[in-house]
Subunit: 139 residues, 2 copies
DNA sequence: GTTGACCTTCCAGTGAATGGAACCCTTATG
DNA sequence: CATAAGGGTTCCATTCACTGGAAGGTCAAC
């Protein structure tokens, strides 16, 4: 199979597939004309990669997961550990974003968003003292 | 003030401050010895940048925000629009991560995580048909 | 005068692709 | 036969926001 077909099947852009070959995640054969020639197993691997990346696993995680997948003797504990670490990363990221969101939406709500120059968003970023408000801690 | 002091005051690494000068966000003066010489206004700007970045605004957002901050005639609507677009980005990111989290934690829960090779996480990534389960749609 | 803590510039690398240029291969059609 | 369309190939640059490191200049204290 040529790269275009594999791209269609796996949902990955051809460019990404070439990149995955570059970094050693897949090793397609080559046809006489120099075209990459993908086996079923390559397509399967790429689809696996697509799903793992969609879950946010890093490329290095993916490399490990592929290795574990290929090793039918692996302990599921090894896989679970990678997944749990990733879950932690996700949780930390969500917490970080949620905090940003809270602060930001607070500021957005406080901003009139009209033609006038007065802007609580800029005031906060500049840490200006605002006499019309009481202590920030009271928020 | 030298870069080290500004780094301490603003909480930004010296390297980052130099980078911000590189891309034109601050323009400190220079002392006779070639050292950067920061005014109060530079320090203030950098602290502003630090807070804006902590809220996840992109560097280009920061550039715009600084420009608006400097323009005392700006309409708060301009600021609010930038903030609202960023809030949308954050919301989309949180939604994406939350979905990943749901799928992943589901898989992690299903995995025994012991010495045995059977692993629902890998099975899912590989889209293996699992005779012990009924259709995935039933999940 | 020498140590050590500063400061300087410049170059390279991060992650995970993505865009583009320049060129080759295959097949169909005028 | 020429050529045009639509594959494919490689290689280089760019993205974002820094961060690390090397090689060297400056300054204050001892």
């Amino acid at each position: 199979m040529n790269i275009g077909d594999v791209a269609d099947l796996s949902g990955l852009p051809a460019k990404t597939i070439r990149y995955y070959e570059d970094i050693g995640l897949v090793e397609p054969l080559r046809s006489a004309n120099g075209y990459r020639s993908f086996r079923q197993s390559d397509v399967h691997k790429l689809a696996f990669l697509g799903r793992a990346r969609a879950l946010g696993f890093t490329i290095e995680d993916c490399r490990s997961l592929l290795k574990l997948y290929a090793d039918t003797d692996r302990a599921s504990a090894e896989v679970k550990q990678i997944a749990e670490e990733h879950l932690d990363r996700i949780d930390r990221k969500i917490a970080e974003l949620t905090e940003m969101r809270a602060t930001l939406s607070h500021l957005v709500d406080a901003c009139a968003g009209d033609h006038r120059p007065n802007c609580p968003i800029l005031a906060d970023l500049a840490m200006e003292e605002d006499k019309t408000r009481t202590a920030r801690a009271a928020d």
